[in-house]
């Protein structure tokens, strides 16, 4: 009947254009929009737009700031009331809030990559930028910068407030290196930990799975070590205690469980090595796997 007439009539009309079109070469259409050769800068701008336009960023970082500032100030107030710091550095008190706060950074890191897989956005992204390595690099840079800046700001604020609160309460005044470690050092460490989460998210491609793995990696060694009482396992127990992530974070505050593990800035180099290895693995998987 008549409904199928239109294609009948169109097909012959379309045929000449079809045949006239050059076979292998680029066809006639060219866009009036100027073509720009894209580079990492474009990907960075794009990732910045992405990370700031989802609510999870605001929520995770908001909770992070609340936890670190809130717990840090509460600890300061509590210690100030008793006044028995007995020569310890007041910066140590910033550690507790951060211990819980890293969960937020881990979550945000994982979500930055894994949520793209969960929503299917990764296919849109990879179509718009077939250079997958560039996308991963842009994500890593944007997330690391954001996590570092936020952590540095919050940790520095808490450290300064605590130092001023506890002045003249028997606390020793921290040296420049202690200041650096408790602000710059720990911020770099936390941002690297978040970056590691981002890379794990890219490898696991599942938000809940990657978050579980990261939280397990942070907590499990310490918890296992606590119950490892057999004497033959003493070395294992000690290694788990000393190299668990909370202990390594404690190094930046000179607040460790033992005195033989990593010290000074060593945890930062350990984390840097682990993250670099994870980056290489995530990059290789991203290049070879189907999206």
């Amino acid at each position: 009947m008549s409904t199928h007439q239109p294609p009948m009539q169109q097909a012959p009309a379309a045929a000449p254009a079809w045949q006239a079109a050059p076979g292998g070469d680029r066809p006639g259409y060219s866009s009036p929009i100027p073509v720009v050769r894209t580079h990492l800068g474009h990907a960075l701008a794009s990732e910045w737009t992405k990370i700031k336009s989802v609510r999870s960023t605001m929520w995770t970082l908001g909770v992070f700031v609340l936890l670190v500032v809130g717990i840090g100030l509460l600890a300061g107030v509590a210690v100030r009331g008793s006044g028995d710091l007995s020569g310890q550095s007041p910066l140590t008190l910033g550690f507790f809030g951060l211990l819980i706060g890293i969960m937020c950074v881990i979550t945000l890191g994982v979500l930055t990559t894994a949520s793209e897989y969960g929503t299917g956005m990764i296919r849109t992204t990879t179509t718009a930028c077939p250079s997958r390595g560039r996308v991963l690099a842009a994500k890593a840079i944007v997330f690391f910068a954001l996590a570092f800046v936020v952590t540095l700001a919050v940790v520095s604020f808490v450290a300064m407030v605590q130092a001023s609160m506890l002045e003249g309460q028997g606390a020793k005044s921290p040296s420049t290196e202690e200041w650096l470690k408790a602000t710059l050092g720990i911020s770099l460490y936390v941002a690297l930990l978040g970056l590691l989460s981002l890379l794990v998210g890219s490898m696991i491609r599942h938000s809940a799975g990657a978050i579980t793995i990261m939280i397990g990696a942070v907590l499990a060694p310490l918890v296992i070590a606590l119950f490892m009482n057999a004497s033959s396992l003493e070395k294992v127990q000690r290694a788990l205690l000393e190299y668990s992530i909370p202990s390594q974070m404690g190094v930046f505050y000179d607040n460790t469980l033992s005195h033989s593990g990593p010290s000074g800035w060593e945890p930062l180099w350990i984390m840097l090595g682990v993250t670099a290895a994870a980056y290489a693995a995530a990059y290789a998987l991203l290049q070879s796997r189907d999206v």
Binding site: A14, P130, D290
Partner: protein, 424 residues
Amino acid sequence: MIEAVGLTKRYGDKTAVHNLSFQVRPGAVTGFLGPNGSGKSTTMRMILGLDNPTSGQVTIGGYPYRRLPNAPRQVGALLDAKAVHGGRSARSHLLSLAQLSGIPARRVDEVLGVVGLQEVAKKRSKGFSLGMGQRLGIAAALLGDPQVLLFDEPVNGLDPEGILWVRNLMKALAAEGRTVFVSSHLMSEMALTADHLIVIGRGQLLADMSVTEFISANSADFARVRTPDTEPQLREKLSSALTEAGGHVLPEQDGALRVTGLPLPRISDLAHEADVRLWELSPHQASLEEAYMRMTQGAVDYRSTIDQKTGLQQPLPPGTQPPMPVPGQGQPGWYAPPPPQQGGHPFAMPAPSGPYGGAPAGAYGAPGAGAPNPYAAPAAQAPQAQQAPPAQPPVAAPPAPAAAPAQSAPAAPAADPTQPEDAR
């Protein structure tokens, strides 16, 4: 220009796409058809470099996608509508893509206008309907103003106005000299949109030809001839006359005849010679849908069966009719009913006692025959339908003596408009 050569994709031991070779040329809308699970989306993903082919390759303008310079400015794609982060607003989503591709930000507002989403640009896409999601996906595809466009099921979830818009958009894009590659499982949609067809089934190429070629290769034109229902003997007479003259005659369900192999004037002459009056003599072309169904019949992976509800049914109280089968459920020969304007008869038929009231009354209204299955019948009489289903649904039909003749006779004309006229 998209060119696939020997494209193969295996997932474990399941072959999704097998040795697929085709070309998609600029300046035309190329339809990519196949049943669910036939490998359309996998092929699309391989074209876009998202999946790596197990063997073979596919290039756009001579380059594999992942090595294409300025890829987002050359190729735009709508893969699936929900490939967006639901928590991000439509505008932010498009802005991030524009930034990634080096496209000026004002282009984002342009494409939002093109797809008609300006009003909800600041809303989170989580709350979008399927149709709005499709529009957002189309906006993303158009963002780079590319010369090659891929759309995977673009009309899914769109309202009729949206479908018309997409149809015209595809044609307009192709008319500008772009390569437009559209996948769909709706043949009727492709019939209105595409110039060229690539049909796959079970990951293998079934056809690669223009729409006209596709139809003529897959179906013969035929004439429908209707003799007065009041005189069945005229029908027999005409049938034998036509068969003698070398025509091929098939009776249709409602009493008409389907004639192939004879031109219309010749049929008219033969009828005149045989002294048979004609109520209808009309040329027909088998629909694209019909040709497509026949072609892919052996390649359908997911086929529904009748919901038997064995042992779960209450015995029907006496005097009630067994339920009508749900159209399209478990009927292999089923295909989409035609749009309303095609459903009825082309000519005004003389009174309700015409083609429905007379001869077919027995078929529809026989006591104990159960509910008529308006969909099974055309398949039964169409010679190409291999799995002609039993004419009756296997619903245990208790005899309904009081109901049958009285109730089902009026029901018959009501059921008829949904009957697919496979001769559209």
